[in-house]
């Protein structure tokens, strides 16, 4: 199976994947909540600490499951994910035996990358940790560097062992993994926000205004460039503009549907989106750390506006969060973690919400003015909902429930609630890792070139690096400059 075909399959199953992500994400959140009031049902989930002795790298999240040990918790985590995602695979009509075998290998390689990324010489940043681990050098990638290791391993497989990559394809489902992660992250954002509600509300508004302008400006310019400078037809230019301008894979697919493009068009655009997202994730967090470490939330918003695909944007936000916090700590400033990632996630979620509205507008224009056929149906308002990315419903639900609990809970119970949300957040990290590895495996550069996408890639390159990234930076600066994350107490 080609990478393109994998994306096509994802497109056909998008709606099912969305609702499955809602169900799985909310189930994880709900089970973690039980732990706040009663038995800890998810405390067995594996966590990884920065390590020099591999035997001490892994541990279950909760001390209640200490008897499992690190390896035991890894096995239980794998088995639980296999059961849940296997059921999802059945719902998506994927051959369960192929999925189970492929997922086993994907989990081993992806989580193995995370463990490697947590090795002290890769991850340690602060002078205190240098002393603690007795190190003379470190790449200072932080423990979030494991995402990059997983991505690079996926890229190596895609480009040097493509048959192996094809063999893994049944379990290479970045869209499903990231959507589950986004549903889970809602509660974490609520807990992060509740201590500084005014700041969180302010960021929310800034996010809304930033994405509306970014979308309107980006889309128009990229569509014009594709049509006028590169001579693309309307059928190619519209999904390309949506894919490049902000929302990546989901927007390209939704736009393709809205303008009744042939299915292959958004699929090929989606392949490009994934490839460029990989390049962005490798470069932009380092640029953000170098040039925006004194404006952390500008960095967070910028990544939300510049990095395409939800998975890549959120992982880039996570890496940047860790890198900037580490740099600030070395300068004596200790920010609360999570605010940079939270800003990236907020911007990205608003963009996803906007997809439904924008594709409705395009659908209306195309059906009524461009491809108008006698007797053809006009675009109906219900199509906004039909094209709305449903996993956002799950995100909003966990955010609202998390916020309501955090605001109403008494001080004595608050630490247990915070710990329960942190427990569900461990799953969010695991789904991020699976997303990154999957994105890498889908990124076969040679195959893309062989498909004759050079001209499409040229539009993408010119628009992204010549325009989108810089306008995104300007908008982020205008609305987020001077707003700082709270200091850690």
């Amino acid at each position: 199976m080609t990478d393109t075909a994998a994306v096509a399959r994802g497109a056909q199953l998008e709606l099912s994947e969305d609702w499955l992500a809602v169900i799985i994400g909310i189930a994880i959140f709900a089970l973690s909540l039980v732990g706040a009031a009663g038995p800890d049902l998810l405390g067995w989930v594996v966590t990884t600490a920065v390590w020099t002795d591999p035997g001490k790298a892994l541990a279950p999240f909760s001390k209640a499951y200490a008897a499992l040990g690190g390896f035991g918790s890894l096995v239980v985590t794998y088995a639980a994910l296999l059961a849940v995602l296997g059921a999802a695979a059945v719902a998506l009509k994927i051959d369960i035996r192929r999925f189970a075998v492929a997922f086993t290998v994907v989990f081993l390689l992806a989580y193995g990358s995370w463990i490697v990324g947590s090795q002290a010489n890769l991850a340690v940043v602060t002078p205190a940790d240098f002393k603690k681990f007795g190190l003379s050098w470190s790449l200072k990638l932080t423990n979030e560097g494991g995402y990059v290791v997983a991505l690079v391993l996926g890229l190596v497989i895609a480009n040097f062992f493509p048959r192996f990559g094809d063999w893994l394809s049944a379990a290479i489902r970045p869209e499903l993994y990231i959507k589950i992660a986004i549903v889970i992250i809602g509660a974490s954002l609520a807990v992060t926000a509740v201590g500084k509600l005014n700041l969180a509300t302010s960021l929310l508004w800034r996010g809304v205004v930033a994405i509306i302008e970014a979308y309107l400006i980006y889309w128009a310019v990229v569509y014009f460039v594709a049509r006028k400078w590169f001579g693309f037809s309307r059928e190619w230019a519209a999904p390309l503009a949506s894919g490049i301008s902000i929302c990546g894979v989901s927007a390209a697919i939704a736009t393709g549907g809205a303008i009744r493009a042939r299915p292959v068009v958004p699929v090929l655009v989606s392949s490009l989106v994934v490839i460029f997202a990989v390049v962005e994730v490798l470069i932009l967090p380092l640029l953000a750390e170098t040039f925006l470490s004194h404006e952390p939330l500008v960095a967070g918003a910028w990544l939300g506006l510049a990095v395409k695909t939800d998975g890549a944007a959120l992982a880039a936000g996570g890496i940047t969060d860790a890198l900037i916090l580490a740099r600030a700590a070395s300068e004596g400033v200790n920010y609360q973690p999570g605010w940079i990632l939270g800003t990236t996630a907020t911007v990205k979620v608003f963009i996803d919400i906007f997809i439904g509205v924008w594709t409705f507008i395009l659908g209306y224009i195309w059906t009524n003015h461009i491809d108008r056929l006698p007797g053809s149906a006009r675009a109906r308002p219900i199509e906004i909902w039909q094209r709305f990315p449903k996993f956002i419903v799950g995100f909003l639900l966990t955010f609202v429930v998390g916020l309501a609990i955090a605001l109403s809970i008494d001080a004595a119970s608050a630490p247990r609630f915070t710990a329960a949300v942190a427990e569900s957040n461990v799953f969010r990290v695991i789904f991020f890792i699976l997303t990154f590895f999957s994105i890498g495996v889908l990124s076969n550069f040679r195959r893309l070139w062989e498909q004759g996408l050079g001209k499409l890639a040229a539009v993408y390159f010119v628009s992204l690096f010549g325009f989108v990234i810089w306008v995104g930076l300007l908008i982020s600066w205008l609305f987020f400059a001077g707003v700082k994350p709270p200091l850690a107490s």
């Binding site: 509306i212 970014a214 309107l216 400006i217 128009a220 014009f224 037809s233 461009i370 004759g452 001209k455």
Partner: protein, 51 residues
């Protein structure tokens, strides 16, 4: 494979479709509204500290 070759040919040899008036309108409104909102809200935010 033949499908891919056909796509390659299509992308390489596609004839230029001129921009229709409705497309120009879409580009103009989108860009105009985006830039207008950007400038307006940025100035408003600086002056009144909205957010």
């Amino acid at each position: 494979m033949s499908d891919l070759n056909a796509l390659k040919q299509e992308l390489a040899k596609a004839e230029v479709e001129p921009l229709l008036p409705i497309e120009k309108k879409l580009i103009g409104w989108s860009l105009g509204l985006g830039l207008g909102l950007l400038i307006g809200l940025a100035v408003f935010n600086r002056v009144f500290g909205l957010f």
